[in-house]
């Protein structure tokens, strides 16, 4: 059986489309979302009886039928629990000091990690897309590893010092961008949503910045011809070029979507040398899938930016006619049959 781990109410049409293909191709799958344990829609019971571990979860789907984890041959992980959504419910209406509230939130998240850790440990022997341990990608470590494999990366620095940053800018001879070392984030209140995207930092921006700040990631700003979004699946690359450079709104970060005139996106064939290097990088990271971001610079270089093991693939699949949903379903079914035998 294929187990699809996902966020509750996840707006990822692509996951549903893969499930449709699994159905069509004759595979068997179940969805599982971490929120179901927490909302009480699902029973979670892990017992040590002195000899064995007895782990039973009962799904809210299909009339509270038990999911026998021993029958899970394949796990496709698209997410599990959004800590933020879950803790929001807990913290709603609580009145205490900020310190107490943030400590409570932290403790709940830690406990949650332990619980999901038990489930993931139980699924360890299954085929996983991607491997759940390998999913914990660190941006900086990935950049280091890309360097080792001879893949060009933007020169990068993590510093808390404005003068060190200025020296870095002088040494590379161009502006830099600031990025999150972790994942992107947004905040919202009743009236507004606040987005944080990649930002160009010029020397003039730094004039208003104090000498010391929080240690942060800065990278050389690469003038690009176009951006590349590459979906990797079991050794194969499905690439797409995004012509974001031609639009002032999207040239720094294509996620500043221009809804009136969206960026042009076309299928792209990576040079085999780049594919070989990227393949070696993914192998080293023990990643059998992921969405890779790269830049083709104006001088023809290929710059690796980052890889997201559970990145979106619909945005590459549809414009490029790659039918990735079908290809993923085929991989999952193949592994399910192989592990059953």
């Amino acid at each position: 059986m294929i187990l699809i781990l996902k966020y509750k109410d996840q707006l990822r049409v692509s996951s549903e489309q893969v499930a449709d293909w699994i159905d069509y191709l004759g595979g068997e799958y179940r969805f599982l979302s971490g929120n179901d344990f927490l909302d009480g829609n699902m029973t979670f019971c892990n017992e040590l009886d002195g000899t064995n571990e007895k782990f039973v979860i009962t799904s809210s789907e299909k009339n509270r039928e038990e999911i026998d984890l021993r029958l899970v041959n394949v796990v496709w992980c698209r997410g599990f629990v959004r800590h933020r959504e879950f803790t929001k419910k807990i913290l709603q209406g609580i009145s205490s000091t900020n310190d107490n509230i943030s400590e409570l939130k932290l403790r709940v998240v830690y406990a949650l990690r332990k619980i999901t850790g038990q489930l993931f440990a139980r699924l360890k022997s299954s085929y996983q897309l991607p491997d759940m341990e390998a999913m914990k990608v660190d941006k900086w470590e990935t950049l280091k590893l890309a360097q080792v494999h001879g893949i060009q990366i933007p020169r990068s620095i993590v510093t808390n010092s404005a003068s060190k940053l200025l020296t870095f800018i002088d040494s590379i001879g161009c502006d830099v961008i600031s990025k999150s070392l972790y994942e992107g984030v947004f905040f919202n209140d009743a009236e507004s949503i606040y987005f944080f995207k990649t930002q160009l930092i010029t020397k003039s921006v730094l004039e208003d910045i104090p000498e010391s700040f929080f240690p942060s990631l800065f990278q050389e700003y690469i003038e690009k011809q176009y951006e590349l979004r590459i979906f990797f699946l079991e050794g194969k690359f499905y690439s797409m070029a995004i012509f974001s450079q031609l639009d002032e709104q999207t040239k720094i970060d294509f996620r500043n979507y221009n809804e009136t005139k969206p960026n042009r996106t076309v299928p792209y064939c990576l040079p085999s040398e780049i594919e070989t290097k990227l393949g070696a990088l993914m192998r080293d990271m023990n990643l059998n899938t992921g969405s890779i971001d790269m830049i083709r610079s104006k001088d023809g270089g290929y710059y690796f930016l980052e890889v997201n093991p559970t990145g979106q693939f619909g945005m590459t699949s549809f414009p490029c006619n790659y039918f990735l949903e079908k290809k993923i379903a085929e991989v999952l079914i193949k592994e399910d049959l192989r592990n059953e035998g």
Binding site: D9, L11, V13, S178, Y194, P210, F213, F214, S216
Partner: protein, 76 residues
């Protein structure tokens, strides 16, 4: 004047990228249907998928991350 965010006074103690944000108004329309319409749709609901001169394919505008009342559904 530059927009402020609730942690604007703490920029020095926060990761640098948090200084640069883009504020967008929440696209939620008022409705007299209690509870259902008070739930805001996921912010990704209205992101375009792709659109070219030859084809147009957008993510569904219907905020599927929330339940819609019958009257609301007619808008989509």
């Amino acid at each position: 004047m530059r927009d402020k965010i609730f942690f604007s006074d703490k920029f020095r103690m926060l990761p640098f990228f948090l200084r640069f944000f883009k504020r967008e108004a929440v696209k939620a329309k008022p409705s007299n249907v209690p509870k259902l319409s008070e739930v805001m749709g996921n912010i990704h609901d209205e992101f375009p998928f792709y659109e070219t001169k030859l084809s147009m394919c957008k993510r569904p505008k219907k905020p599927i991350s929330k339940l819609l009342h019958y009257d609301e559904q007619k808008d989509f």
